[in-house]
């Protein structure tokens, strides 16, 4: 056991840090740091830069454009990307990419992987349905074979950034009369297909990123089936369990904790910096200690598991990581006192512009960020489900 990372790892960290400092648009960085919403252009600029450096798909096998990094390197990379306030990598690269590499046809690989590596091809994740959230296997969107195409009918809901997406990877039911899991197939659906429409769902933070998608006799070429008919469930499990080195979100938590400290130093209470108030300071310190413990846990589990696939530990890291981040966002909602109350959705998006800020300028996004933070314990497998998974494993049930 050693306290520091090896010298090579520190050199690697410096290299990642320098790259982000140099190549991430300062405007995008500022928007991420201030908790503003991003436009597609923010992502595209960053993905192009990652592509040019060869770092856009670190988790892919080397022959498909992966970096060949160790698990620890990937962890460091993800932490630095989060700390450096870069946009997150989208569902396509981390989810469907590895599935296509493992199970896709040669044609599918040729068609999609290069475009994804260039950061040009956007995917929506078409899993959830109104009646099927945690119980995904109950999904009801039907696909019926008709000549050279499947005809898809039904609806998907909660698709993040469906308005940016050119393609969707979807789970659909191709066989109705077998065990639920065995009747599911995965297919790649062109978002411009006739009969496919998307409807925006506004969220409590004022965000514009969620959609419901409706399928009315949408024809999906058989060539767009992933792997075998009826094997969609196992591909989905493969995809959801894939490479979750950064799942605890340590870098994200650190950045928000730093923000909290910065704001608490700039706010005053009874004429003193808020951060000097023992009551407030100790609450921050308590979160910081938990974060440190979680960071060590993340790294330890990663090292102990090197070479093995991701285990149930990822549930543990997801639960604690999301709940800790939510606590930090909750404190961020307290840091400006009554200035958490004013709220202007346009300002959350674009800043104050030429207007004089209402209260401190950094106050404008805090309520929105707090509201938005409630989603992280719901999506990607709700924390109750993660606890069920972990309980089964601990108890050997």
């Amino acid at each position: 056991m050693k306290f520091a990372f090896s010298a090579e790892m520190e050199i690697f960290r410096d290299e990642v840090r320098a790259f982000i400092r140099e190549k991430l648009s300062p405007e995008t960085r500022r928007r991420v740091e201030e908790g503003r919403r991003l436009d597609k252009a923010d992502y595209v600029q960053w993905y192009r830069a990652l592509h040019a450096k060869g770092w856009i798909t670190p988790g892919w096998p080397k022959e498909h454009g992966g970096t060949g990094w160790t698990a620890l390197q990937r962890y460091i990379f993800e932490e630095e990307v989060a700390l450096g306030a870069a946009p997150p990598v989208t569902a396509g690269i981390n989810m469907i990419g590895p599935v296509l590499i493992a199970f896709g046809t040669e044609e599918q690989k040729r068609k999609y992987l290069p475009a994804m590596r260039q950061g040009d091809l956007w995917w929506a994740q078409g899993f959830s349905e109104p009646g099927s959230g945690s119980d995904l296997a109950s999904l009801a969107t039907r696909a019926v074979l008709d000549g050279d195409a499947y005809v898809v009918n039904g609806t998907k809901i909660w698709q993040t950034q469906a308005h940016y997406a050119e393609m969707m990877f979807a789970l659909v039911r191709t066989k109705p009369d077998v065990k639920p899991q065995e009747g599911i197939s995965m297919m790649l659906i062109d978002m411009k297909s006739p009969g496919l429409s998307i409807h925006h769902i506004k969220t409590i933070d004022g965000g514009q990123e969620l959609y419901q998608c409706f399928f009315d006799n949408v024809r999906v070429p058989v060539a767009n089936l992933v792997g075998e008919d009826g094997k969609g469930w196992s591909y989905a499990k493969f995809l959801l369990g894939f490479e979750r080195h950064g799942i605890a979100g340590i870098g994200l938590a650190k950045r928000q904790l730093n923000r909290l400290k910065r704001l608490a130093a700039s706010e005053t209470s009874d004429g003193r910096p808020l951060i000097e108030k023992p009551r407030f300071r100790d609450r921050i310190a308590t979160l910081e200690i938990e974060l440190l413990a979680l960071e060590y846990t993340s790294i330890r589990l990663l090292q102990e598991g090197e070479g093995k696939g991701p285990g149930v530990e990822s549930s543990l890291l997801k639960i604690k990581g999301t709940e800790l981040r939510q606590e930090i966002f909750e404190m961020l909602s307290e840091v400006v006192g009554p200035y958490i109350i004013p709220y202007d959705n346009d300002v959350v998006r674009s800043g104050w512009g030429h207007d004089e800020p209402v209260g401190p300028d950094y106050a404008a996004t805090l309520a929105s960020n707090y509201l938005d933070s409630r989603k992280i314990s719901i999506y990607g497998g709700a924390n109750e489900i993660q606890r069920n998974v972990l309980a089964k494993s601990i108890l050997g049930l």
Binding site: S128, G131, S132, G133, S134, D135, S138, I157, W158, I201, K202, T203, I204, G206, L210, E267, T268, S269, D270, G271, L274, K277, R279, F280, Q326, E330, S333, E334, G337, P338, Y339, I340, I341, P342, Y343, D344, V358, G359, A367, Y370, L371, R374, K375, S377, I378, Y379, A382, N383, E384, R387, N388
Partner: protein
């Protein structure tokens, strides 16, 4: 202690519950303007709640206030009842001259005058003594200069109750006055902003605003204490409003657990969720009881005891409100994150209520300073 409503209070509760539900329904149909709504409160006699009958009121106390506030919270009414009737109303009733009362109180009660407290400032956080706005005596009155922050309904109000410093330093308890300032006086600039729960607040600049001598209310120089006393009534009322909001979002969650099906059963069948709603219910019951305690305490003359209980209530209500709001969203899954579904609206109202008139940390501090502990650690308050 007696937590049981008397007969009149029970009747009030019933009629305010109907009133609030009707108003909510009208709001949902978008058939009422803010002015219509305020008129309905006046017709119900609710705007004169704290005033004597002579002034168009019915002499209600803390408990009556809580009853009204709770129903408003339950139905998510958006009107400035607490700032206008409870905080400003109490302050006017307690500190105006007889002549001023005769003019002002009936007009507040009939809805024709909207008066709001404007105590907070950009740098005051929750302190009522960190007043940097100045009041300089002039030949026939005072000249006010400064800024007031996050004044709920500050743009809609006809009159502002402004705290301003006559002497001493920012943070001094003494040397503050409370001034009645018409919102349309020259030198008053009001910038309306939306609030996270869909209401209006204003940032107010006072630039050489001239008011006459009668604008100064109560004992000159004791404005900090005057404002604080009025705000205590407001804190007690907000506790009631928050309990109403919590109980509504709790009921929604229970209903959702009974109807939302996953894995072939209502999700309420899962023990993890059953225990969660039980914990929410415990949090709700604690908040409800201590809010009732604060409602009773609001009328106490013993300032220290009053302050202890009211601050205790704000702390507990903030905690319970955060927990219940967060869990309500969580148990609704992605549906809870949508703007259209009601849980989020309650969540936002609870966020505002917890951040108004002092947050949990602020009231924890007040509670500690109002509670004296002897050397053995026992409470002697």
């Amino acid at each position: 202690m007696d937590f049981i409503l008397n007969e009149e209070q029970a009747i009030l509760k019933g009629s305010v519950a109907r009133f609030s539900a009707d108003l909510r329904a009208a709001m949902d149909k978008k058939t009422v303007t803010a002015a219509d709504r305020w008129g309905r409160y006046a017709d119900m006699g609710l705007l004169g709640l704290p005033f004597d009958e002579d002034f168009g009121g019915f002499g209600g106390g803390g408990v009556e206030t809580m009853i009204v506030a709770e129903e408003m919270g339950r139905h998510l009414l958006a009107d400035p009842y607490v700032p206008v009737v409870v905080v400003a109303g109490r302050l006017l009733a307690d500190h105006c001259s007889e002549e001023q009362k005769a003019y002002l109180l009936p007009r507040v009660a009939d809805g024709s005058l909207i008066v709001v407290p404007a105590f907070g400032e950009p740098k005051s956080r929750y302190s009522l003594s960190r007043v940097a706005t100045t009041a300089v005596p002039s030949k026939d009155g005072f000249v006010l200069d400064g800024r007031k922050a996050v004044v709920l309904s500050g743009a809609a109000a006809n009159l502002l109750l402004v705290t301003a410093r006559l002497s001493g330093e920012v943070g001094d308890e003494d040397g503050i006055g409370v001034f009645l300032v018409p919102g349309d006086l020259p030198g008053v600039t009001r910038r309306p902003v939306l609030t996270v729960d869909g209401r209006e607040a204003a940032e107010i600049v006072l630039d050489g605003v001239r008011v006459d001598k009668t604008a100064a209310l109560g004992t000159l120089g004791r404005g900090g204490a005057i404002a604080r006393r009025a705000e205590e009534f407001g804190v007690a009322a907000l506790a009631g409003e928050a309990v109403g909001a919590m109980s509504a979002v709790f009921d929604m969650t229970v209903e959702y657990l009974q109807t939302r099906r996953q894995f072939g059963v209502p999700i309420g069948k899962f023990q993890a969720l059953q225990h969660r709603v039980v914990d929410m219910r415990v949090a709700l019951e604690l908040a409800r009881s201590i809010a009732a305690g604060a409602a009773i305490a609001a009328d106490l003359d013993n300032a220290q005891e009053r302050r202890r209980i009211i601050s205790a209530a704000k702390v507990q209500v903030c905690r319970s409100g955060r927990y219940i709001g967060q869990q309500a969203i969580q148990l609704h899954g992605a549906m809870g994150m949508t703007d259209e579904y009601g849980a989020g609206r309650y969540f936002k109202r609870l966020l505002v209520l917890s951040s108004l008139y002092g947050d949990a940390d602020h009231h924890l501090e007040r509670f500690v300073s109002a509670s004296q502990y002897d050397e053995g650690g026992a409470l002697v308050a």
